[in-house]
């Protein structure tokens, strides 16, 4: 039999999609990530027991006192086994996934119910989505969206969506044709028929779909944890990879509690949202014996008030909690004057900017930071809306911007010298010290160098210069994906002590986290590197001479910078300040060194 290279075709197709539709995946990633961050922020903000209380009130509203008590107890248990934060991460992931699923599945289901052609086209796709092992989605998922919650959510969406589509279609098809005809006979617009007749009557079936989808989504949480999705999946995955039975069990129990809670609540929600469900519920309640208080349920407004009160308390506690987090002003130089800082979302940009944000806060200023696109950053600074940036790669990388805006900018000099682009291998790979050494070792590295984004300068330099200068073309292929995927690959290979070559640059936190060898570039094929400069807007030094002087003297070593980047990376997105503080605690006195206040101390 001839070998049919189906896998290669798919892989090539995926690669092609990633290259040509990268902008689309980036857009999807941004949207999904923001939704997840938002849901996560809401769920992790309140005190665990208060949120458990809120969820308990919902259980009371939907199912009555006993389920409410059980729900609260279960959620409290999650908190007491210290799985609250991961559990809320997972909950956010499930909720956002389900939201997206229903935004997609209900319209598809409706279309399938209305048109036999759509139904016929959708069915095999659903079969494929449902039966393909879920892990398979993760691979292209990482390729398209990098590691983090997004590929996990995408895999969850793909895996859990089919029942939602199917049950929506079924529900609408099940609606008695005579009822639809009756609506039509009274002159109802088809859209109105859908909203007022078909969907309400299909609701019980669609809600059964909600239930199914949530359960399937929860079952995907563990798998999402394997691609850095965080949450309980990571807990369980950590438990598995470190053969920690206890940890795995705790994570598993938390998943089960969430699953039962969501299952019972969505089941009961069905009876609350549809008039038919409410009537069935009332009948069932009337048929049941036993003391009435066991079946007492608050009316919807009362339940809303309960939730609102608890939410306000949570908000209030948070307001006080936040106050503690503002760093102590150690020397009030700024008297609350604002300083606007812009940065590009690169590790060294984030690290230096948040470091200075912390320092300026400690010196009595009110710094404000914003993440900007390169062009927007330079433009904004030239126009005066950004006071300082610490992200200018000169003389090479940002030369066009510097040339264009130099008259509106002030250069405070390089705080890091000198950056470099390179290929790096783990130190346990012996005998590979320079790019020349790679030649002939293609077998060892499986002929691959894991690169970053295809559009990156480093990728272009490798393909146009490096591989030709060192004769690596043919023997090695640069696997272009993105920085996160490359780092995930590095992390995995490093854990297994497998040989791997990655394209990296200095400064980078990876040099702090792993023991890596930067391969020397004796023929200077990667160029000679930049300094990372601090720039101020024109006139900033005159307005804030003290800050300008601190920035002019600002220097970080590679070890310091990579450690700082590592600390921020560990703290996670949205917690950059925590990362900076962790690093500052490990480097006492550094604030005074970087921003000396002279005699005032």
């Amino acid at each position: 039999m001839p070998r049919v290279h189906l896998g290669d075709w798919v892989a090539n197709g995926v690669e092609w999609l990633r290259v040509h539709l990268g902008w689309l995946f980036d857009a999807v990633k941004t949207v999904v990530e923001h939704m997840y961050d938002g849901a996560n922020a809401v769920l992790t903000a309140p005190e665990p027991l208060l949120l458990a209380g809120i969820l308990g009130v919902l259980a009371l509203w939907l199912r009555g006192p006993l389920p409410a008590v059980l729900a609260f107890a279960g959620l409290a248990l999650i908190d007491s086994i210290e799985q609250w934060e991961p559990a809320m991460n997972s909950l956010a992931l499930v909720l956002v996934s389900c939201l997206i699923i229903f935004a997609l599945a209900v319209p598809i289901g409706i279309a399938a119910a209305r048109s036999r052609a759509v139904s016929g086209a959708v069915r095999p796709v659903l079969d494929l989505m449902q039966t393909m092992p879920a892990m398979v989605y993760l691979i292209p998922g990482i390729f398209f969206f990098g590691v983090g919650p997004v590929p996990g959510m995408v895999a969850t969406i793909v895996f859990a969506m089919p029942p939602a589509v199917r049950l929506t279609e079924l529900g609408i098809r099940q609606v008695d044709a005579e009822l639809v005809e009756a609506a039509e006979a009274f002159g109802t617009h088809p859209r109105r028929t859908l909203w007022r007749v078909q969907l309400p009557l299909a609701l019980p079936t669609i809600m059964a779909g909600v239930n199914q989808v949530i359960m399937l989504a929860l079952s995907m949480v563990v798998i999402a944890g394997m691609v850095g999705g965080g949450g309980l999946g990571s807990t369980v995955y950590d438990g598995i990879s470190s053969v920690d039975v206890g940890l795995g069990f705790e994570g598993g129990v938390a998943v089960v509690i969430l699953a039962i809670y969501l299952d019972r609540m969505t089941g009961a929600l069905n009876q609350r949202v549809s008039p038919l469900g409410r009537r069935a519920l009332a009948k069932a309640d009337a048929a049941l014996g036993g003391p009435r208080f066991l079946r007492w349920k608050p009316a919807t407004p009362l339940a809303m008030v309960g939730v609102l009160v608890l939410a306000l308390v949570a908000g209030g506690l948070n307001a006080f909690g936040r106050a503690d987090e503002v760093p102590k002003v150690t020397a009030d130089v700024g008297h609350g004057r604002p300083v606007s800082m812009g940065y590009i979302d690169w590790p060294e940009g984030v690290a230096s900017t948040y470091l200075w944000k912390e320092i300026l806060q400690q010196r009595g200023f009110t710094p404000e930071v914003k993440s900007l696109e390169v062009g927007a950053l330079y433009n904004g600074q030239a126009q005066g809306s950004v006071d300082i940036q610490t992200n200018s790669w000169l003389p090479a990388t940002h030369a066009p911007y510097w040339k264009k805006y130099r008259d509106q900018l002030e250069d405070y000099g390089a705080w890091y010298d000198r950056t470099s682009l390179e290929i790096a291998v783990p130190s346990y790979v012996k005998g590979v010290r320079t790019l020349d050494d790679l030649k002939g070792k293609g077998g060892l590295f499986k002929g691959k160098i894991y690169g970053i984004e295809p559009g990156a300068g480093e990728t272009k330099l490798y393909e146009d210069q490096v591989q030709n200068v060192y004769g690596l073309k043919g023997e090695y292929r640069l696997v272009k994906s993105n920085t996160s995927a490359m780092l995930a690959q590095l992390d995995r290979a490093y854990a297994k002590k497998e040989p791997i070559a990655v394209s990296l640059w200095s400064p980078h936190w990876a040099y702090d986290k792993y023991r890596l060898t930067k391969l020397a570039d004796p023929r200077k094929a990667f160029g000679s590197g930049d300094g990372i400069h601090t720039l101020g807007r024109k006139g900033f030094a005159a307005k804030e001479p003290r800050v300008a002087r601190w920035l002019k003297d600002f220097k970080l070593t590679e070890a310091q910078l990579t450690a700082l980047e590592g600390a921020i990376e560990d703290a996670g997105k949205g917690h950059q300040e925590d990362g900076v503080r962790t690093w500052l605690r490990k480097n006492p006195g550094i604030v005074d060194k970087l921003a000396p206040v002279g005699g005032t101390r």
Partner: protein, 407 residues
């Protein structure tokens, strides 16, 4: 009169063909192709060349067995199905030429429908169901609830507003369906086998109530049924459909007394004549003018057959039929009543048995009380052979003149 004239419904050469290339099929049907021929090609001719007119305030019944195309025909009248060819005119407008939006507007305001299986919305209360059409029209809540309550009361459901459809019996559910159709104040009511799913007693009840309501509401109604008894009872005019074609249109008595073909005739055999026929249809119109002078009870042309029988049983002579001025318009001898009931219009045959038995055999005829010779003559003339009435053969000047009781 002229205001009501506008709500006349007219169907003109309606065709409905399902399947591929329906227009082509219509051309073939017009050229004389049969239904079976088309079916061989995979197209189904559901309705073929249906034309009729329903005058305002009339009940027009379309009668036919399942598969005869009557439901398809009904659905073309309000545009639920688009005719393949032909026109529907209502209220002076050609419904087949309207846009979707205009058609919806017509359905919401001018035409309403009552369904076989009630088609009540299970997620709405009885009141909300009855108010549905008004809701579509965009009538404000308070007003539509008031009007729906009124419609429910009209249908005998006062006090059931807050109930749910599944809590009602079948008959009551159909009353809600009727109330829903009446609430919109539409001029035209389409009723699709509306009473077929009800058990016989309830069905009788609903039929009577519909006729009662119609006396005051004077809607234009198109009623579909497979039950000829129902058709005869309700219909001012009845159309009988077979295999997609209307085979006969006429009054109930037309259909009963002069069926167009054997197919229609085979239906009429099962009809409960006593419910359909009236004195006007049965009476002998050759009158002398003094029949009502004796002071005995008389009938009018509208008197139902059953009542006529009761009258006849109490009288010793034929029942006189008088008009509103109390001048006699006809007489009904007992022999005629028995003959109509049995669908036998022939004269009594003389008994050919032995003389001893002759009296006994002749007894039913001879025993018929005949007060005088003139009466006997009349009776004899009335019972004279007239050929087969079923064929519509009206030979003889004394054949019963078909009078539409409610015309």
């Amino acid at each position: 009169m002229s205001a009501r004239e506008s709500s006349r419904l007219e169907a003109d050469g309606l065709y409905k063909v399902f399947g591929r290339r329906p227009e082509e099929a219509v051309d073939r049907l017009r050229a004389g192709a049969g239904r079976e021929e088309l079916r061989a090609d995979g197209t189904t001719a559901a309705v073929i060349d249906a034309s009729f007119t329903v005058e305002p305030g009339q009940i027009f019944v379309v009668m036919g067995l399942s598969g005869s195309g009557k439901s398809t025909l009904l659905r073309m009248l309000n545009g639920l199905l688009e005719p393949t060819a032909g026109h529907v005119r209502f209220d002076g407008r050609d419904l087949t030429a309207l846009s979707d939006r205009e058609l919806r507007e017509v359905r919401a305001r001018n035409i309403s429908m009552v369904f076989q299986h009630f088609a009540l919305f299970p997620h709405r209360s009885v009141l909300e169901n009855a108010a549905y059409g008004l809701e579509v029209q965009g009538v404000p809540r308070a007003e539509r609830h008031a009007r729906a309550t009124e419609a429910l009361a009209l249908c005998g459901l006062a006090g059931w507003e807050k109930s749910w459809p599944d809590e009602l019996s079948g008959g009551m559910q159909q009353r809600v369906g009727l109330a829903r159709a009446l609430a919109t104040d539409a001029d035209l009511l389409l009723m699709d086998e509306s009473f077929s799913a009800l058990d016989p007693l309830i069905r009788r009840d609903m039929q009577d109530q519909l006729l009662e309501l119609q006396k005051t509401l004077k809607k234009t109604i198109v009623f579909i049924t497979h039950d000829l008894n129902e058709a005869m009872l309700l219909g001012d005019h009845v159309a009988v459909m077979r295999d997609g074609r209307i085979v006969q249109t006429g009054t109930a008595e037309d259909i009963l007394v002069r069926p167009a073909d054997d197919y229609v005739a085979s239906f009429t055999q099962d009809v409960d004549r006593s419910r359909v026929l009236t004195a006007g249809a049965v009476m002998d119109t050759a009158v002398r003018g003094d029949e009502a002078d004796c002071g005995c009870a008389t009938a009018t042309p509208d008197t139902p057959f059953a009542e006529l029988c009761a009258l006849s049983a109490r009288l010793s002579h034929p029942v006189a039929v008088v008009d509103s001025a109390r001048s006699p318009v006809g007489v009904v001898p007992r022999q005629r009543l028995v003959g109509f009931l049995g669908d036998e219009r022939g004269a009594p045959v003389p008994c050919e048995a032995a003389p001893g038995g002759a009296d006994a055999c002749a007894a039913p005829v001879a025993g018929t009380p005949r007060p005088d010779g003139a009466r006997r003559d009349d009776a004899r003339r009335g019972d004279a052979p007239r050929g087969d009435a079923r064929r519509g053969d009206t030979a003889g000047d004394d054949a019963p003149k078909v009078v539409t009781a409610r015309a």
